[in-house]
Structure formats: structure tokens, C-alpha cells
Assembly symmetry: C2
Homo-oligomer: 228 residues x 2
DNA sequence: CTCCTTCCGCTTACGGCGTAAGTCGCTGAG
DNA sequence: CTCAGCGACTTACGCCGTAAGCGGAAGGAG
């Protein structure tokens, strides 16, 4: 059915057929990410990835030990795109802002995959560069020891929490758009007066502005903290 | 095999056997939560829940439309335990702290289930009471309109992000304890000097203190924000 | 007391999942 | 030219969620 460059059994090559690119770890991960972005996380299966690549499911196991490894590979790929620290000598506030924005930009490039990455626990290895960078920034800001770690943790918590909230909000708004009727019933103005009052702002979030609002708030607070 | 109170077919009741409690929505959800806490999220299946209750998998469908509904039920149950606002007249800072602590306490009561709840998107209904409460607190603090929403979002982001980080950290530390060898290789002091320098603090986190550190930082920052 | 509706747990079956095991054509080294 | 081994293949197993339909027990109606 397709010509091959090397190895493999059937289907035997057909002269006029296009050459099929060789299967590699990278191509598998890239295809997995595409698939998640296009059809959602629950559509990801070894069989589907294989189909997408024109290959049998088990062929993937020649390049990847299992599905878990595919998920790890996705995390690697997505978090790997932002490890650079372009200006280690700049003001720590700028560095912090830049790191947060880089993380968020990566999330927005692959939103559905990022959800998968964030909800997997065992990937501390992949986050290590980000942790290192944030710790360096905390030290540059004048914090040491436990306080530096706490500053780092607080900052990371805000960034990750915001990304989860954004994904959540986007999904929620999509769902609300589909079934306006039931929403009106569910959100009783008596039970949720403030939610109804702020409906306009809740329904039309300015993600960028909201992110920077909290980010600046946090950086300002860290700045005016006593040094250790 | 087991005596029944009402209805059902085989196995026909055996006189001496213990009475089996009737299947209900609540018992199904409770069993699902127990199962997740005991064996992890990937152990949760309709068949396993059934087995745990001494019942066939399909019997669950008389009380629950499907697995998604079970997951929703878990979210309801866990987030439902903290809706109270015991002192609506208290200082907004205390109310905010109390809300954050209540959320976190619920998370620690069912840590693995909370991970599942947090990584599901479509459950805005269940979070509505928390959002309402936090919006009320923001208004009490003197914020209106978009700013109130931004304060609420920032606050929620921090809380949720911290919970995810805690779950992550716990899993990471467990894993590190198992394979100290590979960790030493992976964490190169040249590449991650700050991580290695803060190893003691990173490996022995004080979750409560860390949470309050960021919480107070954030509340203080919100307090000194100009009002709208 | 009898009948009959309704409830509810049961069995069976289907398509899809991750993956262990084994087959075999092609390629490049000797 | 031979042949080792790489890499894609097929097959099969035990899971999964769930659609469809069965049948016994409980309890109201006559």
C-alpha cells in the first residue's frame, strides 16, 4: 500500500505509491500532540496514533515502550520549548514576568495537550529547568533558603492555577454557548447574586489582562517582602 | 449468594447470608471515592465499583447514567462539603483565609480524588458556590466589576495551583524515595545549582506553612490594591 | 388471595483499549 | 552471496464502557 525506505513486511511496496517517512520517536510524539489538539485527550490511543501515521499500532512499540512514555514525551516536548533564559542579568521582575509568559505561551500553543501534561504527576524531571530558573530569580531578588523556595512555589502555583482555570473557563464558555436554556435555570439569582451581577465580566474574560493582573499583583507583593 | 431486601434476580437469597444494603447513587459515589483513594484513579472502573459493592457492573446503570456521571458525582460530593460560609459578617481577610483553608482541607481529605476533580473541565456547576462566595468576599473588600472578578480569579488560581503542586510534590517525593540512585544522576549540580542548593527545603516541604505563606502574601497584596 | 405493574439486579455481547508474543521481508555488513 | 537483525506486521488476551434484554420480588388493585 505504501512504499517504504527500509525494513518492514507487508504491505509490499507499490512502485507508484508515495514514500512513507520512517517511523521515529519524534514523529510519534508530534502526531500524538496533533491528535490531542484536534480531537481531545480521550481520542488518543496507540491504535489511533498508528492509523494517523499509516502504521499498525504495535509498530509504535519499536520506538516507544508504551503509552505512558508517549505522554511523557509530550510533556518533554511541550515543556522543552521554554527552557531558555534570554537575559539572566535583567531585573528579576522582568525575568519572572518573562518566565511566566513563556510558560503560558507554550500552554496556549497546545492547550489540550497542556491539560494532559499538567494533570500528570510524575513528570518532575521535565519541570526541573523551570524550577531552577524560578529559584535563581528568587535568589536574585534577595531571598534565601526556605523563603526562596516558598516564593518559587507561590509563583508556580499562580501560573499553573491560572492555566488550569483558563482551560476550564474556555471549556465552560463553550458549553454555555451550546445550552443557554439550562444555564438560566441553573444559575438562580437568589442563590448566586454576585455571579449574576458579574455575569458580563465572567462571560467575556480578557485572559491576557487577567493573567497580568494577578502576575503583577504577585510580583509587587514579593518585591515588598522583607529579605531573609 | 447474598440476601436482598427487594427486587433483583439471581443469585436467589440464601437464608443465612447477610442482607446486602440496597444500591444507591450515594453508595456508588462513596465506593468510587474509596476506590480511588485506595488504589488510584486508573483503578476506577464500573466493573471494579460493582465488585466492591458485590454487584454486577451493569447494575450500577440503574442508578447512574454512566462513568462520566460517577466522576461528576465525585466532584459534587467533594466540593459540596465546603459550601458553608459560617461568618458572612467577619473581616473579608478572615473569610478569604477560611475559604481557602476549607477548600484545601477537602482536598486533603480525598487527595487522589481531588486530582481527578481538578483535572476535569466541565464541572463549573459544582464550583459555582465557591465562585459566588469568593466574589462576595471581593465585593466586601471593596472591589467592583472587572476588578472583583480578577481578584477572585487570582485567588482561585493560587489555591488550585497550590493543590496541584502539593499532589505533584507528594508523588514526586514518593518516587524519589524509591530510586535515590537515578535522582543523583539526573540532577546535575552544574545544570541545576539552585535546585541542589535548596535540596533540603525542596525535599522536606512544610505544606501548611508554604500554603499560608503564599496565601498571606496574596491577601496582603489585594488589601493594598486601589479600590474601583 | 390473585394479578399485574414496576423496579432492579442479572447475563450476554460488541467494539475498542494497551500490549505480550511471534512472524517475516528488507537492508546492509561480512 | 550469505546472513544477522531491524522494524513493521498479525494474532491474541484480558481489560474497558455500555447497549439490549431477561426475570424474580415487592406491593398496589381488584
Amino acid at each position: 500500500m505504501a512504499k517504504q525506505t527500509r525494513g518492514g513486511t507487508l504491505p509490499t511496496e507499490v512502485p507508484g505509491a508515495p514514500v512513507r517517512a520512517p517511523l521515529t520517536h519524534d514523529r510519534i510524539i508530534a502526531t500524538a500532540i496533533e491528535l490531542i489538539e484536534r480531537e481531545g485527550a480521550q481520542a488518543l490511543s496507540m491504535r489511533r496514533i498508528g492509523a494517523e501515521l499509516g502504521v499498525a499500532a504495535m509498530s509504535l512499540y519499536n520506538h516507544v515502550p508504551g503509552k505512558e512514555a508517549v505522554l511523557d514525551g509530550i510533556a518533554d516536548r511541550i515543556l522543552g520549548g521554554l527552557e531558555v533564559d534570554p537575559a539572566p542579568e535583567a531585573d528579576w521582575r522582568d525575568r519572572a514576568r518573562r518566565l511566566a509568559h513563556a510558560f503560558r505561551a507554550a500552554a496556549h500553543r497546545h492547550p489540550r495537550s497542556m491539560s494532559v501534561v499538567l494533570s500528570r504527576s510524575m513528570i518532575w524531571t521535565r519541570r526541573l529547568p523551570v524550577i531552577e530558573q524560578m529559584l535563581a530569580i528568587a535568589e536574585q531578588a534577595g531571598f534565601r533558603g526556605r523563603t526562596a523556595v516558598q516564593v518559587m512555589r507561590t509563583f508556580m502555583a499562580y501560573v499553573i492555577g491560572t492555566l488550569m482555570n483558563e482551560a476550564n473557563t474556555a471549556a465552560t464558555l463553550r458549553q454555555i454557548a451550546e445550552e443557554r436554556r439550562r444555564v438560566a435555570e441553573l444559575v438562580d439569582p437568589k442563590a448566586f447574586p454576585h455571579v449574576v451581577g458579574a455575569a458580563r465580566e465572567l462571560l467575556h474574560p480578557d485572559y491576557d489582562a487577567d493573567f497580568d493582573f494577578g502576575l503583577d499583583l504577585l510580583i509587587g507583593a514579593i518585591e515588598s517582602l522583607p529579605r531573609t
